[in-house]
Amino acid sequence: MEWLKKTFVKVGVLPFLLVALLILFSVAESRFMTTSNMMIVGRQATYLAIVTAGQMLTILCAGFDLSVGSSVALTSIVTSSVIVSFSSPVTGIIVGIAAGIVTAALVGLANGITIAVFRVSPFVVTLGTMSVIHGLALLLSGGVPIFNLPDELNQLLGVGKIVGIPVPVLVTIIIVILVFILLNRTRIGRYFYALGGNLEAARLSGIAIKKYTCLAYVLCGTLTGIAGVMLTARVASGEPNLGAALPLESIAAAVIGGVSLRGGEGGVIRAIFGAILIVLIRNGMNLMNISSYLQMVVMGCLLIFAVVMDQFRISIKGR
């Protein structure tokens, strides 16, 4: 019991949930624990994992970003529009990807400046941009998907493989490594933890708190943009309604992975496992033919459960 409690206090609810769900789904559904299904889970998890890595950075700074879903949609529309406007697919893809990622980074910059400089709560700011950005995506696309993307996009970033590893998985692994290094080996990471844990202490230590808060949202935007491009390649079209579930799922993933909503605590590896857990649940429910409506109910409950457990963890830690 003591050992269980210690593990829980240290790493949170994630390992317990992971074990419980693996057992549950394996027993309930024979197709679940198969190599091919796990490959599918791995590939599906990449998009959420990348967004979660970005989301985690803002949560570490005691904020969060509700606009990640809309950003993915806008990225998708911008990238697709740019690509189809070029006659050469290769140039189009390169410029389109860059344009999409830059757009998402700019959304992050707008969020960051409003939050850090004008001291508006992250909740209000990103709730606002969520609507603004989604509106822009719909305006730009006229509300309909953009088709006729060159096959190369899907071939390369959607279903392509390099040395036997699917490209999205490879990209995700690289991003996770980079974020890990950023958090653990650079001053940027150190300052994120410090200002998220105690903004005043960070300020009195001479840290440029506005700059670094801003940076967290820009990085979150950039990663969201990368996820947006990859998703666009995956679905092979520009979708103005892409990523609607991402805000909830990425926050849930980070919190389940032990990132504290109070800021200053958490790591990228565990947050990624949080993302994998969520995709596992979705996959398991799909295999069990659970309706997507009911899945929404489950996901919402899961987020609240994760936050409650986080609170509970803090309270036994403090005792």
């Binding site: 105690n198 202490a201 001479g206």
Partner: protein
Amino acid sequence: MEIGNIMEKLLLKADNITKRFPGVLALDRVSFDLRPGEVHILFGENGAGKSTLNKILAGSYLPDEGQIYLKGKQVQFRNPLDARMAGISAVYQEFSLVPQLSVLENLFLGSEIVKKGLLDRKAMLNKAEGLLKELGFDLDPKANVGELRRAERQMVEIAKAFQHRMDVLMLDEPTASLTDKEVQRLFQIIKEIKGEGVGIIYISHRIDELKQIGDRITILRDGKLVDTLDMAGTDEEILISLMTGREVQEIFPSISHEPGKTVLSVEGLSTAGGIHDISFEVRSGEILGIAGLVGAGKSRVGRAIFGLDEIKAGLITLNGHPFEKPTPARCIEKGILYFPPDRHKEGLVLCRSVKENQTLVSIPLFERGGFIDARKEEDTVKQIVEKMNIRPKRIDQTINYLSGGNQQKVMLSRGITRDITVFIFDEASCGIDVGAKHDVYMFLKEQAELGAAVIFISSELPEILNLSHTVMVMHAGTNVLTIPGGKATEEMVLSSCFGYDHSGSGAECVEPNIET
């Protein structure tokens, strides 16, 4: 049956109370009793456990071990309401008022008078007016608490306790922000309710006050019971040595004074935060003590130099060059570091490790090619932990789990992770035990003797007198007296603390915890 008899005579009895907080043993088998109609004083340094004991008796905390008996019956309070129902009323040090609500609403918070499911404002107003009149407090029940002066909020707090029938009244530093006249009125009230058999637990640092109203006194030190004595027959010296556990000379190191050239000078400094025309200079190897009452603007001086308060006028000169528009980052760059008074609020990142907290101001120095050199950082931190005698020695330990004294040492040791030549300590020994205080003073001594210029802001007079080479006394935002060359005496400093100006804003000035 004999035991039963004694128990009946006691109003309240606490037996072997133990309370632990993460990393701290706040109370260690402390016993305490209260007779009807007596004022029993709880005495000890900050962090000795007085407030914790008070809060356990008032139901705010649950004891980990030990029993509480009220009028001979064992009781267990799960929350403050339980204790209040049983007849224990408490007035806390920190205000427990809702600033957005009126005096009236605060007085009846949790015990509103209700008629047919609706609030009976008229009845409450009548009752409140009667109560305030009886107490002699000149307060408007309809006034918003947030707009009241500190002293007035304190009166509301006291009135709140008096509104219920009670057997035990707990007062935690009740006179901290009251004027003399209000204090005398409070003492009169205390005498009246003593006559009615109410027992009073009273926490204060002011010895003259204790002599005036105390019957018995219990001294706590580091969470342990030292002794319970009759107030008659004790004197200041006995109390202080019981409180600190040692002679005054043992606590304060002697610091040699070999001033070098002037490092920092301030001329005519005024800020938006309310200090006017402050001038002083600090030399290398010198400790400048800044004394004054709470609210006199001592902290403001440090905050202004460090770029936390906006400077309206004045000139700061650092090593002979003008130092304009300070910010924390530029100050640290130039070797000035300010240590805030509240380490939890402004000093430490509680959820992070000892290591990360210690190197927070000096990360760029550990970088190589854009990355933090983990080994270099760890080596430095390990050395400092050893040198500063920080316990536990694990540098990856979350700092929240360290005791107050060790936390303070981690914060202060930031000053030796890089080249700091001007140290500004603001209440550096606040809320830590005597041993840790001694370590903090030794740190101060070492920095000064190594040639740093030290500004030492403190509300504790003994510290100021024993550690400073030069003492500057502040009152109402200005510098009223500067005493060079270690010639400051208690009388000189105290009398100027209270300032020349006894009219007007005097009531806003709060007396410091002068523990002499």
